[in-house]
């Protein structure tokens, strides 16, 4: 059975010029221990659909879905306290800008210990010990020193490791990572992706990876959903997607990778895509 199952999800935003549909009838499901990549460009609605699951969208958003279940439980109409039991414990999320995701006024140790105290009911002493364990698990060097550091004293890659440590603190069964490496250098990106994959295997959690980077998809995903302008274009396991992409948009994305350039010019999406989908 799918861990998270969403059928026909739509998200509309009320704007000054009328209603804008950001997500238009998307089906997403992820199984236990699976890595799902959701790929798309800016404006494809890839982040919005997952923010809808987390209940993080502003009041201007209208969310409709035929089905929205987590582990068989309906999550579309949770009360605030039920939602708090689920979000941040069973389902956690990390974001694109690691430095901006942390509070600059508190040490990183305080921020991870706060999660441990509030979500897991630990005492201060237990929380400190567990925080050090988590820092070691995510590969932060000299955790005893770093635990008292403030976010601005750490590099982007280290802040993302802290975010990951916070996200896995409660042994979640589903981690949603929204562009976790986009703000990072390529060598740091490799380290963070390797870490996420290792933790995913060690903890047996499901991972939804939102990205625009086909390279990241190739290195991590089991299954891939390709989104464009709020709609699902294609869904396939990672090998079939790269070997034999079915949809014109997927083919366009793959051939726009500079390493796939055959002639002097890079093919662009519009070369593939003028008639086939009218947004």
């Amino acid at each position: 059975m799918a861990l998270l199952n969403i059928r026909n999800l739509s998200v509309k935003f009320a704007t000054a010029t009328g209603s804008f549909t950001a997500v238009d009838g998307i089906d997403v499901h992820v199984d236990k221990g699976e890595v799902l990549a959701i790929v798309g460009e800016s404006g494809s609605g890839k982040s919005v659909s997952m923010l809808a699951v987390m209940g993080l969208l502003p009041d201007t958003a209208t969310i409709t879905a035929d089905e929205m279940t987590y582990d068989g439980q309906d999550i579309s109409n949770l009360s605030a306290s039920e939602r708090r039991r689920l979000i941040g414990r069973e389902i956690t999320m990390i974001f694109q800008e690691p430095v901006a995701s942390l509070n600059p006024s508190f040490s990183v140790g305080f921020q991870i210990e706060e999660v441990l105290r509030l979500n897991l009911g630990m005492t201060n002493r237990e929380a400190r010990a567990k925080a050090l364990d988590l820092f070691r698990a995510v590969g932060i060097p000299e955790p005893e020193d770093k635990i008292n550091a403030y976010p601005h004293q750490m590099s982007g890659g280290q802040c993302q490791r802290v975010m990951i440590a916070i996200a896995i603190a409660s042994n979640p069964r589903l981690l949603i990572a929204d562009e976790p490496t986009t703000a990072l250098d390529v060598t740091i990106q490799k380290q963070i992706l390797d870490l996420l994959m290792k933790l995913q295997e060690d903890y047996g959690m499901a991972l939804i990876l939102i990205t625009h980077d086909m390279g990241v998809v190739a290195e991590t995903a089991d299954r891939v959903v390709v989104q464009y302008k709020g709609r699902k274009m294609e869904e396939a396991d990672v090998l079939s997607l790269f070997e034999n992409p079915q949809h014109a948009y997927t083919r366009a994305l793959l051939s726009a990778l500079p390493e796939h350039a055959t002639g002097d010019r890079l093919p662009t999406v519009s070369d593939f895509f003028v008639q086939e989908v009218t947004p």
Binding site: K32, G33, E41, S42, D185, V186, T187, I188, Q189, K190, E201, G204, H212, D213, M214, G215, V216, A218, E219, D222, D237, V238, L239, F242, E243, A252, L253, L254, A256, L257, P258, E259, H260, A261, D264, R265, L266, P267, T268, V269, S270
Partner: protein, 286 residues
């Protein structure tokens, strides 16, 4: 570096840049050496890619080449002429030769300036063309970079990221430069928009015989656009060579680690990874 030819559009010899980090009540100020003696030269119509991570000094070097900052020591030659902007303000003619395009097209355009004025401003400052001539040139340049003349009176916020980067490129080309310094020009853009902008840069290089210094951390982009590549780490050029040589056989350990970290989108590599994961899962069922 192989033999220095006088035909080089831009050449650097032993470029060093120090930054002074001011001290506080408790710590003394100190010097940080961002570039430790860099040599390079780029011939006309060629593209030199500068590759490195954040903090490697690649943007510092780009700013020196674009005549924004003066190096602490070392010589920069534009068209074979030594340039020292510290002792003498660059002339309009020299400014016209070298232009720069920045990484973030959201930050590099004045939000209160119409696109037409963005494009005409370099002409106001550096030339004495009459207003009608400036307008004609700006409209022609808009067309050249794939925008429409009706975009002339719009503001930057009305454009997408890719269109803004086209505007920034158009602004850089208004003075008919010989050398364009591009600091991560496509890393803020989506993949398909990135392809369009790279194509545009290739077309413009052919048409105007432009020389590019292209700063990037993305090896797949570098492989597509560069003729020569320089890899910088901690202010030192650890490896320099033609694109073919460097990509075929990277020598330095740092270059090799960059290659190892670059995601592989090759089907065989994915097949291996998927098989490995399946095996791991069978060995230790969740």
């Amino acid at each position: 570096m192989t033999g220095t030819k006088p035909a080089a559009v831009v050449e650097g010899r032993a470029i060093v840049q120090d930054y002074y980090v001011p001290g506080s009540m408790f710590a003394a100020g100190r010097e940080v050496r961002a570039l430790r003696g860099i040599d390079f030269s780029v011939e006309k119509g060629k593209t030199l890619a500068i590759v490195g991570e954040s903090g490697s000094g690649k943007s510092t070097l780009a700013r020196i080449i674009a005549l924004i900052d003066a190096p602490t020591s070392g010589t920069l030659l534009i068209d074979g002429e030594p340039v020292d902007i510290r002792s003498k303000r660059p002339s309009p003619a020299l400014r016209s030769k070298v232009q720069m395009v920045f990484q973030n097209p959201y930050g590099s355009l004045n939000p209160r300036q119409k696109v037409g004025n963005v494009l005409m401003e370099p002409l106001v400052i550096n030339t004495d063309y009459p207003a009608t001539e400036r307008r004609d040139r700006a409209e022609a340049m808009l067309k050249k970079v794939g925008l429409q003349p009706e975009h002339f009176n719009r503001y930057p916020h009305m454009f997408s990221g890719g269109q803004r980067q086209r505007i920034a490129i158009a602004r850089a080309l208004m003075l008919n430069p010989q050398l364009l310094v591009l600091d991560e020009p496509v890393s803020a853009l989506d993949l398909s928009v990135q392809a369009q902008v790279l194509n545009l840069l290739a077309d413009l290089q052919d048409e105007f015989g432009l020389t590019y210094v292209f700063v990037s951390h993305d090896l797949s982009v570098v492989r597509y656009i560069a003729d020569d590549v320089m890899v910088i780490s901690k202010g030192v050029a650890v490896e320099q060579g033609t694109r073919e040589a460097l990509f075929a056989d990277p020598q330095h350990a740092y270059t090799q680690s960059l290659f190892a970290a670059t995601p592989v989108t090759d089907v065989e590599a994915i097949r291996t990874r998927v098989a490995r994961r399946k095996a791991a899962r069978l060995a230790a069922p969740v």
